[in-house]
């Protein structure tokens, strides 16, 4: 499994809860690694063990940790590039949702070897979306919920997002876009972070 996934979990737990929490979680997971490198591969079996250890140390369900991790990726300054790469998906939040089918492909373009679940998006009723995620890593849907919630904020869109559990082997996410101009759009310029973007 790609080191970026492990590195993200490590950065999230260390930045938000402190390095000692991460150290305790790693100790509890009984893995032969204490810190992860973004650009190395690790045994996929490590991830569920680490996540379970984090849940115990942080005293909250794994699903909540993953959701918060998704939001952290978009909102934390250390990962400004993730927010920008997501904004390439579309000029509105709805366009972004429609671009999610391309997410695994785009991710592979960015970092070869970083495999994400297949994502399939439908809009059966206008502004009401169903997102299916199929494949490893399990729990990806929860991280995606947190990430999309933060992106909706970023676009200034009011949306209701819910993880509806697993249906036919896929994680199912429901998104209802309530209002597109609810808040201020943080903005996005193709020219890059150097150009002014709303804080």
């Amino acid at each position: 499994m790609h080191g970026l996934i492990f590195r993200t979990l490590e950065a999230f737990v260390s930045d938000v809860f402190g390095a000692d929490c991460w150290a305790r979680a790693v100790g509890l997971s009984d893995l032969p690694v204490t810190s992860f490198e973004a650009m190395l591969q690790y045994d996929a079996g490590y991830f569920p063990k680490l996540l379970a250890a984090c849940a115990e140390v942080l005293d909250r369900p794994e699903s909540v940790i993953l959701e918060d991790l998704g939001a952290y990726l978009i909102t934390h300054q250390n990962h400004a590039s993730v927010r920008r790469l997501m904004r390439f998906g579309g000029e509105t939040f709805s366009e972004l949702l429609h671009s999610l089918d391309d997410l695994p492909g785009r991710t592979r373009l960015a970092v070869s070897g970083l495999d994400l679940p297949q994502v399939h998006v439908r809009e059966p009723i206008s502004q009401s979306f169903i997102i299916d995620c199929r494949g490893e890593p399990a729990g990806f849907g929860h991280a995606l919920v947190g990430l999309l919630r933060a992106m909706a904020d970023d676009y200034g869109t009011l949306a209701v997002l819910d993880h509806r559990g697993i249906r036919n082997g896929s994680e199912v996410i429901e998104v209802i876009v309530v209002e597109t101009a609810f808040g201020a759009d943080r903005g996005f310029s193709l020219g890059g972070a150097a150009m002014a973007e709303g804080a």
Partner: protein
């Protein structure tokens, strides 16, 4: 069917229609971002400068470029290259359809372009995405490489250092000798052995012995130059390699200073400790070039000769001593200690 000019406006954000007189009749919507407000009516060749394949001077020249890929730039923005195709409009004029080549990344920065400035079918968004994603991934890779390199340097230093004294170890000596063996640099080797160290260790304990060794290491470092290699080769034995230093007077002075300072009694843990030192010196000018091991052996022979002749002194190797300890007329064990 939609008229051709409307079709161009809808599909091609960077096109230029040029009339038979060489004046611009219509441009795509994105030129305004390039600082060209409304060029209609201006002479096409006054707004744009062609670079390749040739520089047309007249409308006839321009029409001859039909069907060819051209490279040009807006005269007011020479840094941003454009490329495109010239086609004959069958009415005496030409249509020039342009795009940013690889300059698109610079152009986006320079002009603050947005997705709407490009045709929807254009792959430019994917290109920009990739460019940005690649930069992030490269940054992560570079940071990993930097950390690994730091760890490698630390491990290398550790592998070449004696843990107790911080002097270099035998592995570092072997590396330095191998390099000297292949170079033309003349050098000297000093073999130093402490006198009465074993008694200190036996009677006052290893902690005091270690303190003595650290103090000796400091003395050796103080008296040697930056380029000299100071090595602890074992127990109380050290080797100093001095590249470029073969003058016997200076080497004698160095050996004398070392022996004097090492022999100075010192208080350690409330006890007066006194050791001495003997030194054997060999200089590369006397040795067969390219064989540092011979030189090491000769310095060793000179060291034992110095010990035999009363300790607390230094001797240069000379041919009458021979090339190995076996040639000295004394048992090796008697010289140790």
């Amino acid at each position: 069917m939609i008229p051709a000019t409307d079709l161009l406006l809808a599909l091609r954000p960077l096109h230029v229609c040029v009339g038979p007189t060489g004046h611009i009749r219509q441009v795509g919507k994105s030129f305004v971002k390039l600082g060209i407000d409304d060029p209609t009516g201006c002479r096409f060749l006054e707004v744009f400068e062609f670079l390749r394949p040739m520089q047309p001077a007249t409308m006839a020249d321009l029409r001859r470029l039909a069907g060819q890929v051209v490279r040009l730039h807006v005269r007011s923005e020479p840094g941003i290259g454009l490329r495109g195709l010239v086609i004959d409009d069958q009415a005496g004029g030409v249509i020039c359809d342009l795009s940013f080549g690889i300059a698109v990344v610079d152009a986006v920065h320079r002009f603050g372009l947005t997705a709407r400035d490009f045709a929807s079918s254009d792959l430019v968004m994917e290109l920009l995405f990739l460019q940005e994603a690649k930069s992030s991934a490269m940054a992560a890779s570079f940071s990993l490489n930097a950390r690994l390199n730091g760890a490698r340097l630390a491990a290398e230093t550790e592998a070449l250092t004696d843990g107790l004294t911080g002097l270099h170890n035998r592995r570092a000596l072997d590396g330095a000798l191998a390099r000297l063996g292949q170079s033309d640099t003349e050098y000297a080797i000093l073999q130093l052995d402490l006198d009465r160290f074993k008694q200190v260790n036996d009677t006052l304990g290893h902690a005091v012995g270690d303190a003595v060794l650290k103090r000796v290491a400091m003395i050796l470092r103080t008296h040697t130059r930056q380029d000299d290699l100071v090595v602890r080769t074992g127990g109380d034995e050290c080797v100093i390699v001095c590249p470029g230093l073969t003058d016997p007077t200076r080497l004698s002075a160095l050996a004398g200073d070392l022996i004097r300072d090492v022999s100075e009694p010192v208080m350690i843990d409330g006890q007066e400790v006194s050791v001495g030192a003997s030194i054997g010196i060999a200089v590369s000018a006397h040795a067969a070039r390219g064989d540092p091991q011979t030189l090491i052996a000769r310095a060793d022979v000179a060291l034992y000769a110095a010990k035999r002749s009363g300790r607390g002194r230094h001797l240069f190797w000379s041919p009458h001593m021979g090339d190995s300890l076996a040639e000295l007329d004394m048992p090796v064990s008697a010289a140790r200690g």
